[in-house]
């Protein structure tokens, strides 16, 4: 047997020359061998394009194999030699009129593959002839030739009237011609979503249904997928179509079966007779189950689709749960999908069997699968009230007996959710959990355990000692999530148990607020501290507020998304459980969204489906604790109805404001946990800061267009006294963005230098995350300002680099009030004296037509390190004098803010700033104007 592999072996020098000689030889066998060698060289990536003219000369031959080889060469190199390729046109056109249909078709097929405009023009005539060719093989090839031409030159196809010709061919006697025509028309329609090029109406419907029976397997798929876009006129028509489609369910080809199921599911929406619906559902179940015996890859696609089917028609496979039990030798991706489907199908009658399976899976070796199995036990417990006991038993059993640490830890995470769903029902097992305290090393498990301890601290002996020994000791080494959880749990414990626990609470609050760099932790620490100092009862109301109950989702995909995905069954969208626009970047296919703003929530939903929401994670303890602590507190305080006395208390005690401000800074605070010690004083900043308007970053630093879909918006802020860049990172691309970034600032006016920038996790498509990059002022920095426009000082040139986005440069703007020095103060007489001395020539004034309420404005200014020197009231006018310093130029500035209510009921403000050098005043006034104005 002659083996072609010998053609691969020539790699000597001068082989091109040798090919050339052979190609021009008179011996046909020699020629053929030469071209085989050339194709072999092409396959391994050798450039043989310089032989183009020599190869073309061999195009005119009666040897079909030779012809095919030459064509193969042409397809590859025409693009790089468009002028020479034109030489081939004559032979092509001649071949399209050959007596042998095979040659005609071959020439048509190849011409279409040569993506050179000049050749495409010459394709029109042969194509027209081909579409009317007596031989169906030529016709079906010509039909796809139209698709090829449309890809290169859509206008030509339209102008030449090929689309109408294709529509006529839908009635062709040959099913292959029909199915290829459908495929081509559907493709052309798909790239023109706004236009009506090919819409199936009754006439087309009948033609397609007629062809369906006789088609090849692929042709059936084309037709079924096309029919999925048809909207039946009424229930009768839907049933009529379904009747014709149902036999396809017995086809051996999985693609045919899945496309049939899709079409039937869509038709069911139009049916009114419940008996028909039941009948068709019953018919769909067995073929779907059969897909589970297919090859693993197809099994995977089928399982992803079955997942959709079950969510759409929950009853369809209700009795078939056993077929989804995992086998030892199933690939991991199949096991994960089966487990997901088991969770959709689990109900009271089958829970015992499912639970036995899950226990079995929890002893397997694949970490990811084992974890999912353990989580599934938790999902069962939350989904089925009657099964909770059994599930908890199973989990306790795992904790007692499993020799694998991650099983124990995963079980604890799951038990936390069960505790939330069934409060006070399974307290007995806490002791068992406590036995495992030492073995916990995963943050999520730790956080879960801490949540449980905090929640049930009144049921445990010496909770403070447990916290102290296991968690508080290494507080600073824990991850932020665990730290937050410790903080909340300890506060809960204090509120529940109280006696003896105060020192520990004090210690944790101090660690959180004073020794931590994490602004979230500090914020939460301060909120608790102030709450505790204000009133224990209020604190109880806020911290120990009842939480919303959690439920296990019966579906994992939102109904709107599901309705979008069902018509996409069998396609990639159904495999990813994401709408096509989220993974297709092809500009031609960018479907305009009907409703703006729809895309974002959908994408979020999708990623949720991709990483299925495990039972109750959406409302898990950590989240809940976060909400209960921060949101509840902030909201309650902002609304003022939970703390009625505080706002009014704030007014008569302006003198203590400075002292209160001290609490914001990490200077020693009054003994916080003693509720009566510092009542009103501590409360002022709460009203001031707790009600501060939440500003989302507005400045687009890095636009998605420049950074492959990564978008960064951000502003400099002073948060809790810490200067930083508050940013929102969004992933609008289709890829996962790695969390590590190189982030640097160039030399800038105020000497701002950033710390590192890292996202909490890799950013999946469609997700966004807030990032706070802490910044410092370079010590001993001299502002390079020559007295020109002071605003140049504010510009901070930045550079960012990431494995995904590459390097990007952009500018940010830092406002002066963000680089103020903390702790500035001045006596009233000194203020008045220096304010007068600077005079009006050093003053910058801004009129702000609509500002926040007075207290909010003052809170905002105080948070920017401005010191309130005095306040006076003249009729309805409130004038506040403030003082601030900045390290830049070692300068100080004096602010006079006059607030006046407007007739519209809002508040206007005139801000005047005096400073030396006066550029500082300009910057401060600008900065204050932005800060106080309501958007």
């Amino acid at each position: 047997m002659a083996s072609d592999s010998k053609f691969f072996s020539t790699s000597r020098k001068g082989e091109i020359r040798e090919f050339q000689l052979d190609l021009n030889s008179a011996n046909p066998q020699k020629k053929k061998d030469a071209i085989k060698k050339i194709i072999a060289a092409m396959t391994v990536g050798t450039d043989v394009s310089q032989l183009f003219s020599d190869v073309i000369r061999n195009m005119q031959t009666d040897d079909l194999e030779m012809k095919k080889l030459v064509y193969l060469y042409l397809i590859n190199y025409s693009k790089s030699e468009p002028d020479l390729a034109l030489l081939a046109v004559n032979t092509f056109v001649k071949d399209t009129a050959n007596l042998n249909p095979l040659v005609r078709a071959l020439a048509l097929r190849t011409m279409g593959c040569i993506r050179v405009d000049s050749i495409t023009e010459h394709l029109c005539e042969p194509l027209r002839r081909g579409l009317k060719d007596p031989d169906p093989y030529v016709r079906k090839t010509a039909v796809l030739g139209v698709a090829k031409m449309y890809d290169i030159s859509p206008d030509l196809v339209v102008d030449e009237g090929f689309i109408d010709m294709l529509k006529t061919l839908l009635g062709d006697a040959n099913p292959m011609v029909v199915s290829n025509s459908v495929a081509t028309l559907m493709e052309i329609q798909a790239v023109n979503p706004g236009q009506e090029i090919f819409v199936i109406r009754q006439e087309e419907l009948n033609k397609l249904l007629a062809a369906l029976n006789a088609c090849s397997e692929w042709g059936q798929v084309f037709i079924l997928d096309a029919l999925a876009t048809y909207h039946p006129a009424d229930a009768d028509e839907a049933e009529r179509i379904a009747e014709r489609v149902v036999p396809r369910l017995n086809h051996a080809n999985s693609a045919v079966v899945l496309s049939s199921v899709k079409l039937l599911l869509l038709l069911l929406n139009y049916m009114t007779n419940p008996d028909s619906v039941t009948m068709y559902c019953r018919k769909m179940a067995p073929p779907l189950v059969t897909q589970l015996s297919a090859q693993p890859e197809i099994r995977y696609v089928a399982l992803r689709n079955i997942n959709l089917v079950i969510q759409k028609r929950p009853g369809l496979l209700q009795s078939e749960i056993k077929v989804f039990f995992c086998k030892y030798n199933d690939p991991l991706y199949v096991k994960m999908e089966k487990l997901e489907i088991m969770m959709l199908l689990v109900e009271d009658p089958n829970i015992a069997q499912v639970l036995a399976e899950l226990k079995e899976y929890a002893t397997e070796v694949d970490v990811e699968f084992v974890r999912k199995a353990v989580r599934a036990i938790g999902r069962c417990a939350i989904k089925l009230d009657n099964a909770a006991d059994q599930c908890v038993d199973a989990l306790v059993n795992l904790i007692d007996n499993s020799q694998v640490n991650y099983v124990v830890q995963e079980s604890i995470v799951v038990i936390r959710d069960i505790f939330r769903k069934y409060p006070h029902k399974y307290e007995g097992i806490i002791v068992k959990l406590c036995d495992k305290l030492e073995s916990l090393d995963e943050p999520e498990a730790k956080a879960a355990m801490i949540w449980i301890l905090g929640e049930y601290s009144d049921r445990i002996e010496n909770p403070d000692q447990i916290f102290e020994t296991y968690f508080v000791e290494n507080f600073h080494d824990e991850t932020p999530a665990v730290q937050l959880q410790i903080l909340t749990a300890v506060v809960k414990m204090f509120l529940k148990v109280q006696h003896d626990t105060q020192p520990l609470v004090h210690k944790v609050l101090k660690m959180a607020t004073q020794k931590s760099d994490n602004p979230d932790l500090r914020d939460r620490g301060f909120v608790y501290w102030r709450l505790l100092s204000a009133s224990l009862d209020t604190a109880r109301e806020v911290v120990l507020a009842p939480r919303p109950p959690i439920t296990a989702p019966t579906t994992t995909i939102a109904p709107e998304l599901l309705d979008e995905l069902i018509p996409q069954m069998a396609t990639l969208a159904s495999v990813f459980h994401r709408p096509p626009e989220t993974f297709i970047t092809n500009a031609k296919l960018a479907v305009p969204k009907a409703q703006p703003g729809m895309a974002a929530p959908q994408m979020e939903l999708t990623s949720g489906a991709d990483e299925p929401i495990e039972g109750a994670t959406s409302g898990s303890g950590d989240d809940a604790a976060r909400r209960e602590a921060v949101a509840a507190a902030a909201q309650a305080v902002a609304e003022g109805d939970l703390l009625p006395g505080l706002a009014s208390l704030a007014a008569p005690a302006p003198a203590t404001a400075a002292q209160a401000a001290g609490l914001v800074m990490p200077t020693p605070a009054p003994v916080a946990p003693a509720p009566v010690a510092a009542p009103a004083a501590a409360a002022v900043p709460v009203t001031a800061e707790g009600a501060l308007p939440e500003r989302r970053p507005t400045t687009v630093l890095l636009a998605q267009r420049t950074a492959k879909g990564f978008q960064l918006t951000g502003d400099f802020v002073l948060r809790g006294g810490v200067l930083g860049l508050d940013m929102l990172a969004e992933n609008l691309s289709t890829e996962v963005i790695p969390p590590e970034f190189e982030f640097q600032f160039n030399k800038n006016g105020f000497g701002v230098v950033p710390s590192t920038m890292t996202l909490p996790t890799a950013l999946t498509p469609g997700k966004s995350v807030s990032v706070f990059v802490r910044c410092d002022l370079q010590p001993g920095h001299q502002a390079p300002w020559d007295g020109a426009d002071p605003r140049t000082l504010c510009t901070v040139p930045m550079a960012l680099s990431n494995a995904f986005t590459g390097v990007h440069f952009f500018n940010g703007t830092v406002s002066l009030l963000c680089v103020t020095t903390p702790g500035a103060s001045i006596e009233r007489p000194a203020f008045a004296e220096r304010f007068q001395a600077l005079g009006e020539q050093a003053e910058q004034t801004r009129i702000l037509e609509r500002v926040y309420p007075l207290e909010t404005c003052l809170g905002l200014l105080k948070a920017r390190n401005l010191f309130e020197v005095a306040r006076k009231r003249v009729e309805d006018l409130v004038i506040v004098y403030l003082y601030g310093t900045t390290r830049v130029f070692e300068s100080e500035f004096f602010v006079e803010a006059a607030f006046r209510p407007t007739p519209a009921g809002t508040l206007a403000c005139k801000v005047s700033v005096r400073s030396k050098p006066e550029g500082i005043a300009t910057l401060a006034a600008d900065s204050a104007a932005i800060l106080l104005s309501m958007q």
Binding site: A2, F7, Y137, S216, A252, P580
Partner: protein, 474 residues
């Protein structure tokens, strides 16, 4: 809705061959695939994934990856089916499909890829049809006539060409049933199903029209409906008939006809093909071969297996080539086996004992006793593995479901010849798995007896910590 390009790569990710159907995917896209699949842990990667606007769909066959690129929302099931069809076709053409055979036949491979797919749309994939235009060296002499190349049939019967002639017209039909079984570690069958397939080898001239009759329950129900009044004979036949849960047919079978009256009628392709497959799942199905295994560990250094095998089929039937594969801990030594039938060997490369029995009669019971030395040091993770026991067997002249061919009629109107139908039956093991009970559970008694001081619970706790530290290392 279609494929952009198809690549064939070796296991290292080197491109052996590619056909870029649409030219909208850069050839460098294959590098991304290599990064994900070859360099990452393969089990973590799904068979369909998307990156940078390109979707990768792949299957693996021997030492090759078949990879399809798409830039649109293609029909994933169709792409995968096509890749499998491509592999099948290459197999019929080259006998053995591996890297070498692709290189040896690259011209034919290119021809096939162009014939089977055009502009990313799958076209005709029947090997018989393809052979009318594309001849391989291997099949060349075998194909019947030397005719000039002609256009392949695209008509209603696209899978068969005209003018086939055989001296002796005969048709062979193999009814093969595979039994899939999953038994829980407590010994209860979780589910069992029969996947049957009818493989036909057709050596018939002309364009024959075939009709196949099975003892399908629905056929009899249909006949009962047709015949007026009760018919006891029919009722009896119906009782014995088989309830086929799902039937899948080769594309040659007229599905609409089957849907109306359950008649299986078709014009077959030439040569060998799978005519139909079906599934019968019976929750109460009695396992044909049952295996019970008890494991005892002796002081952690030796492990003892007691395996009981029983055959639950009729004594006049006989299972051939029975193989019971009993997974054992890795790195065992000094095997000592004793069995009452057949032979048993320790296969260290599979970490299993393989008990082979050439012929096993129905209704019997046999025992195997095996002892193995355990290694002194064991990887915790390895130790955790408890693969199920698997059994392989073949029982000829027998179908578990009871399916039978009632008739196979051949009708060729023009030639009107006599033909010989041959039918064979075979039942064999498919995915036949019996999960093993936790060895710790059964061994705990003996552990304590042999004087291991630690009570079980504390021992387990200590081990759990051990695992924790080892998992941290990874």
């Amino acid at each position: 809705m279609c494929v952009s390009a198809i690549f064939v790569l070796d296991l290292q990710g080197k491109v052996i061959l590619c056909r870029n159907y649409r030219g909208d995917v850069p050839l460098s896209a294959a590098d991304k695939f290599v990064e994900r699949v070859v360099e990452e842990e393969e089990s973590q990667v799904k068979p369909v994934f998307t990156e940078g606007g390109i979707t990768y769909t792949y299957i693996k066959h021997t030492n090759l990856y078949f990879l399809a690129f798409t830039t649109r929302n293609a029909n994933a099931a169709m792409v995968l089916m096509f890749l499998y069809r491509l592999v099948e076709t290459f197999q019929t053409y080259f006998n053995k499909l591996e890297e070498e055979s692709i290189r040896d036949n690259f011209v034919i491979v290119y021809e096939l890829m162009d014939e089977m797919m055009d502009f990313g749309y799958p076209q005709s994939c029947d090997s018989q049809v393809l052979q009318t235009t594309i001849r391989s060296n291997r099949l060349g002499p075998a194909s019947q006539q030397k005719r000039g190349p002609q256009a392949p049939p695209t008509g209603i019967i696209s899978w068969r060409q005209e003018g086939i002639r055989y001296k002796q017209n005969q048709v062979f039909l193999d009814v093969i049933e595979q039994v899939n079984l999953l038994v829980s570690s407590t010994g209860t069958p979780l589910y069992s199903e029969i996947v049957g397939s009818l493989v036909m080898n057709c050596e018939l001239s002309g364009m024959p029209d075939l009709k196949l009759g099975l003892n399908d329950k629905l056929v009899f129900e249909h006949m009962q409906m047709e015949s007026a009044g009760p018919n006891p004979q029919l009722e009896q036949a119906r009782q014995k008939a088989v309830d086929l849960e799902d039937v899948r047919f080769h594309q040659c079978v007229r599905l609409a006809k089957f849907d109306t009256d359950r008649t299986i009628s078709f014009v077959p392709p030439d040569g060998k093909f799978e005519l139909m497959s079906y599934r019968v799942s019976k929750a109460t199905l009695k396992p044909l071969i049952w295996v019970e295994n008890t494991v005892e560990k002796h002081a952690g250094s030796r492990v003892e297996f007691n395996v009981k095998l029983s055959s639950h089929f009729k004594p006049r039937s006989q299972a051939n080539n029975v193989e019971v594969i009993i997974p054992v801990p890795p790195d065992c030594d000094s095997p000592d086996t004793e069995c009452s039938i057949g032979s048993c060997v320790y296969a260290p490369e599979r970490d299993a004992l393989v008990w082979s029995i050439k012929q096993l009669q129905g209704g019997k019971q046999y025992l195997l006793k095996a002892q193995l030395g355990l290694p002194s040091v064991q990887n915790e993770e390895e130790r955790m593995k408890r693969p199920p026991i698997t059994v392989k067997f073949e029982i000829p002249y027998f179908t578990l479901s009871g399916i039978q061919v009632r008739y196979l009629k051949v009708l060729e109107e023009k030639l009107n010849y006599q033909s010989l139908p041959w039918v064979r039956y075979l039942t064999k093991s498919g995915d036949y798995q019996l999960r093993q009970a936790d060895p710790e559970g059964t061994a705990s008694g003996s552990m304590r007896m042999s004087g291991t001081p630690a009570p079980q619970s504390r021992g387990v706790g200590a081990m759990a910590q051990g695992v924790g530290s080892s998992s941290r290392h990874r």
